[in-house]
């Protein structure tokens, strides 16, 4: 994927990399500065120690043989390669011997450690340098010739620190040590700093490339997938790599959200299909009847009858419509039905009492067996509606029973469930597949076509049971059918 620089900088990964890089660089610079000052101090301390040792040696030489021995030792040491700085001057500051040709004015005037590094010139370091150096510009009587000293011209003097001592005869002795070239030191530091910063920059880019870009790629694949899904492919899902990281968790959650949306969408589609299918027939019938009534010549009484028929048909349509809406809301689970304690035994007696006259009129014996009172958490209205739909069905289908038609409503506890069973002794639904299909929407098995109803009674009951975390099962009762509403018992939770 080709991205322009501004586009790259817009990504979180690049921004974070840049920020880390900046922070690391700042830390590195501070660290280098700290280390530099620390090493400088350590070097100075070391130098002072070396000088102390040197002075101790020279003091012994002086004690041994006085000034001549001291001068000899100094001259000897001066000539050694990489030697320390030695200088012996008379009381007036006139250099007598040593390997220092010239130094900053005032250095030898105060006894003790020089407070600051001073610049100096060794022997043989060039005429110009000697001219530049202040106080001691006359050639001094020297013994050491500094043959090993490199011939440098136009160079600034070297820096050194030194211990200045006054000998008993008022002569001045200086023992010092070069501090090395500051330029070199600075060059080393800046080189190290550049190297460190360069490596950090490289590291930042590598981090961005491998970590940030990998994250970027994952996000891009997620947004690509969502774009495809938005494009209409609702079956599409976000990629899950199986790494179990945050991205996977996000994708998994989004996927379950998509699954839920797809399910709701599917439900909606089914509802509209069903509405189209099942409401179209009665609507067409309604229209045709009106048309037929208009076409012929009729008496006023006939018109009245036709209109009453139309009203009755419309009422049935409204009922069907309400049932469809109710089912889809319950199935979608976004129903805001209020729940509370429901006395199932009271619901049974309510519904049985409601249907008792109907059963009696149809010649059906309606029996009730209630083992004990059960209170569940649910919606009384909905459970009452489900039970009345089931009882309604049972009464309808028991009328063709071989023996005396009978419907039994039983309430009992079975294991972790409270079962509300409605059993009739009619023909039942012998075919297993038919029985399974009976709770689907608008399914009216062949035999029941002659019975009035919308074909939604059992579907609604099933939706209500699902809403209550329960089940609706249709079992053969031989003869007849058992419709079982199973509620999870409260103790089971």
């Amino acid at each position: 994927m080709a991205l322009s620089l501004p586009a790259i900088m817009k990504t979180t990964a690049a921004r974070l990399s840049a920020l880390y890089l900046l922070l690391f660089a700042l830390c590195a610079v501070l660290l280098v500065l700290y280390m530099t000052s620390l090493s400088a101090r350590m070097l100075t301390a070391q130098t002072q120690e070396t000088i102390n040792d040197e002075v101790l040696g020279l003091a012994q030489a002086y004690q041994r043989g006085g000034l001549p021995v001291l001068v000899r030792v100094v001259e000897n040491r001066s000539r050694q390669p990489g030697a320390n700085l030695y200088l012996i001057a008379d009381a007036n500051g006139q250099i007598l011997t040593g390997n220092v040709q010239s130094l900053e004015p005032g250095v030898i005037e105060t006894e003790g450690w020089t407070t600051q590094p001073f610049s100096y010139q060794r022997f043989g370091e060039g005429e110009l340098d000697r001219l530049r150096s202040g106080a001691t510009d006359q050639p001094s009587p020297q013994t050491g010739d500094g043959a090993n000293a490199p011939q440098s011209t136009g160079e600034k003097g070297h820096n050194a620190i030194a211990l200045v001592l006054r000998l008993p005869n008022q002569m001045i002795m200086l023992v010092g040590r070069d501090l090395g070239e500051p330029e070199r030191f600075r060059a080393v530091i800046s080189r190290a700093l550049t190297l460190a910063l360069g490596m950090m920059g490289l590291g930042g880019i590598l981090i961005w490339f491998f970590v940030g870009r990998a994250a970027l790629k994952r996000i891009d694949s997620v947004s690509d997938a969502s774009r495809r899904i938005m494009g209409g492919d609702l079956s599409g899902r976000l990629p899950v790599t199986g790494a179990g990281d945050e991205f996977d968790r996000l994708s998994e959650n989004l996927n379950s959200m998509l699954a839920r949306i797809a399910m709701l969408n599917e439900g909606l589609k089914q509802v509209s299909d069903n509405i189209a299918h099942d409401l179209k027939t009665p609507l067409t019938r309604l229209r045709n009847r009106a048309e037929a009534t208009l076409a012929g010549r009729h008496k006023t009484q006939d018109y009245r009858q036709a209109l009453e028929g139309a009203i009755a048909e419309s009422d049935q349509l409204i009922k069907t419509f309400n049932a469809i809406l109710m089912i889809s809301r319950l199935e979608a689970g976004y129903s805001s039905e209020q729940t509370g304690p429901v006395d199932l035994a009271a619901t049974v007696s309510d519904v049985v009492e409601l249907y008792e006259p109907v059963a009696e009129e149809a010649g059906v014996a309606l029996e009730t067996t209630v083992a004990e009172a059960f209170t569940i958490n649910g919606n009384r209205e909905l459970i009452g509606q489900a039970l009345s739909n089931i009882v309604d069905n049972a009464i309808k289908y028991s009328t063709d029973a071989a023996e005396a038609p009978k419907v039994r409503v039983a309430l009992e506890r079975l294991g972790n469930e409270i079962k509300l069973t409605v059993t009739d002794n009619g023909h039942g639904i012998p075919d297993d597949a038919d029985r399974a299909r009976a709770t689907e929407r608008f399914v009216r098995l062949e035999k029941s076509r002659s019975q009035p109803g919308s074909g939604l009674g059992l579907s609604l009951a099933k939706a209500i049971m699902t809403f209550h975390n329960g089940r609706l099962d249709l079992l053969p009762a031989n003869p007849g059918l058992s419709v079982v509403m199973s509620f999870p018992s409260r103790e089971a939770h």
């Binding site: 409204i318 809406l325 129903s335 209020q338 009492e353 006259p357 009345s388």
Partner: protein
Amino acid sequence: MKILVMEDDREAADYLQKAFAEAGHTAHVAGDGETGFALADAGDYDVMVVDRLMPRRDGLSVIAALRSRGNTTPVLILSALGEVDDRVTGLRAGGDDYLTKPYAFSELLARVEVLNRRASARESETVYRVGDLELDRLSHSVKRAGREITLQPREFRLLEYLMRHAGQVVTRTMLLENVWDYHFDPQTNVIDVHVSRLRGKIEKGFDKPILHTIRGAGYMLKGG
């Protein structure tokens, strides 16, 4: 009866106005919540029919505002939402009855007439009398032309409701709601069977019918 209809659907509102007029009532229409509130606040209506979803101000807030101003006019809420919970929130907001769209006008009319505050003053009476039929709410006894009639508890409640609204059409759903406390449409007309049983008890052996079936609407208890 003077009815205020708050309904934003122009066509539905016109239809309601015409239909109420045909039933002998005067209906005023407000097309949005604010207008409805102003009309209700100023006018003296017997019943208000309020759509829940209206522009500018929704039905429930109009009702709540009217109630807080001491307006006690009975309100029937019309809703396209129609779940038990919606009914509960609607009634809690100050509505007196609740009807879900789509509805049959006969149902709406029956409910509005029952809600009419001038007709519903019978709540406090202990003895209801319709023609020669008499129901004592305290002693739970029913007499017709001085003859004792024995009723089951549910039949008693059914008759009690019918007598309280004597002279008014009572629909099947109204009976199911008020006598059985259920708000669904039973698949079979179970109510009809209950009513015909009751009718058998209060009319058998008497020369005059008292419990009338109103075709396409429901029932009416009417003496004389």
